[in-house]
Amino acid sequence: MYSEKVMDHFMNPRNVGEIENADGVGEVGNAKCGDIMKMYLKIENDIIVDAKFKTFGCGAAVATSSMSTELVVGKTVEEALKITNKAVAEALDGLPSAKMHCSNLAEEAIRAAIEDYKRKNGLLGECDCAAACGRRCDDVHHDHGYDEDDDE
């Protein structure tokens, strides 16, 4: 079900933990649907120099958390915002279709952490706020393991 890369990032997750006095912290997800991701960013001169995470969730959730911390480090804030869940999934050699939504979590955690950084630094434009975490349980977990085009 999972690629070797997913299993590697699951069994040996990179950057687990917290950053004290992080410049941005984002927490997304909902324990109710079985996934919460918390992302910590250290940002210097608009560049992400360190990232750490904590995740409550499935193998895909842990692996995408791990991969996204690797992807953001060294990027500017604007570059990091362009990282999509698809990019995270691709970097892991793909995810099973029922698990694609777990990669949304990573994308949103990055956004939430950056938003927190922007807010703390007075960089937030007026209407960015709602966009950060529009993810809701019901949106993500709509399917029951069936395929998209099946009628039942």
Partner: protein
């Protein structure tokens, strides 16, 4: 992984015992005749089926002609429930069940609700039990069927089946029980327990997959579910799956002959596992009734962690287990059973089911007790929910 696999998921399915495979094998190659045929190898197939039917009826205290082979436990459930419902709809349209049934029962009931039937889903207590009184109270003049599972597949809780059977009998209402988890694992006598219909499946007691059986008490009004040829006395069409039916018979014969000893053995593994894990690991809860539970079933919730991650890490250590977390299936809600016994979503997500069987040993449990605490701790260290606890805030 190189290591020996430690399989602790016997409620999901079992391997097929060598004696069972051996009994099946001739029917693939030499004795392959269609049981409807009148020539020698056809008659041999017919005979093999009837011998198997007798083994099944002997094991549950029924008559051979009350046993019908099906293609799965799920098919038996579908047939029993739809079959009784449609055959008796002139008498009423109300069905009583519980909210912790297997999906084979629940989804069938939901299908019937869409077709004009009315279904009462009895709630269970925190141990997963319904009471005979609850059943009695739910009966209405239009009730035609009570369907309550013998033992639950997730938390192992065993229902008061004989008492419910007695109530059903007194009121003249058909009583079906899904005994897929129970049969071959605990002693059942359909007559003593007043069971009218009972679903079984071979792959839960070292028989093959893809073969089930439905016990239908003589006299029960039931319409057919799979229409076609005249197999199974005209009640369940399809060329008989002779190797699998033979395997069913052999497996139930072996299971019944050896039941007490088998139970004693796996109960010891179960009890030791429950005792030691709850002692060794904090923030853990046993799900299901402590005594009224299947001999091989352990179901525990570990707070702050998620089941799929737990399973994957156990798998890396060579241990196969299962979970009630929705993340294993990618669906919305965790197990309806764990929610029904009152677990909050996030705790239900952290559940682990270990079901012991034939080949498990004390060493297997040792290995589990060695690796599980480390894995739980490791996942908790990764969990944002656990931080709060370590900071002294226990109301996460």
């Amino acid at each position: 992984m190189g290591e020996k696999l430690i399989y602790m998921d016997h409620a999901a399915t079992t391997y097929v015992k060598p004696q069972v495979v051996e009994a099946m094998l001739p029917f693939f190659t030499e004795k392959f005749g269609n049981a409807s045929s009148i020539y020698t190898i056809g008659r041999e197939s017919k005979k093999a089926i009837e011998e198997s039917r007798e083994k099944v009826s002997d094991a549950i205290g029924a008559q051979a002609r009350e046993i019908f082979f099906t293609g799965s436990g799920t098919e038996a459930d579908n047939w029993a429930i739809k079959g009784v419902a449609y055959a008796n709809k002139s008498k009423g349209n109300h069905i009583i069940t519980t909210n912790i049934e297997h999906h084979a029962v629940l989804h069938t009931c939901q299908y019937l609700e869409n077709d004009g039937f009315e279904v009462t889903y009895l709630p269970v207590d925190e141990n997963g039990l319904v009471t005979p009184q609850q059943v009695a109270d739910a009966i209405k003049p239009n009730t035609i069927l009570i369907t309550i599972m013998f033992a639950n597949n997730e938390i192992g809780t065993i229902q008061p089946i004989a008492e419910i059977g007695a109530i059903a009998k007194e009121k003249g209402i058909y009583f079906h029980t899904d005994a897929v988890q129970a049969i071959g694992n605990i002693a059942i006598n359909v007559k003593d327990m007043n069971i009218d219909l009972m679903s079984m499946s071979a792959h839960k007691f070292y028989g093959p997959k893809g073969v089930g059986a439905l016990y239908v008490r003589k006299g029960v009004k039931l319409v057919s579910f799979i229409h076609g040829g005249a197999q199974e006395r005209g009640r369940r069409a399809s060329t008989e799956n002779i190797p699998a039916i033979v395997g069913f018979g052999k497996a139930i014969e072996l299971a019944t002959a050896n039941l007490d000893e088998y139970n004693k053995k796996i109960m010891a593994l179960r009890d030791r596992t429950i005792d030691e894990i709850t002692k060794k690991i904090p923030f853990v809860k046993l799900n299901g009734h402590r005594e009224k539970r299947l001999p091989g079933n352990v179901n525990l919730s570990f707070q702050f962690i998620e089941g799929e991650s737990l399973l994957l890490m156990l798998d890396m250590k060579g241990i196969a287990a299962s979970s009630g977390s929705a993340c294993t299936s990618g669906s919305l809600d965790p197990s309806h059973v764990l929610l029904a016994i009152g677990l909050p979503h996030e705790i239900a997500h952290g559940s682990l089911r270990l079901t012991f069987g034939d080949e498990n040993t004390d060493e297997d449990v040792n290995k589990l007790l060695e690796v599980l605490p480390v894995i739980v701790e490791r996942l908790r260290e990764m969990s944002p929910l656990y931080e709060n606890v370590k900071r002294g805030n226990k109301n996460v």
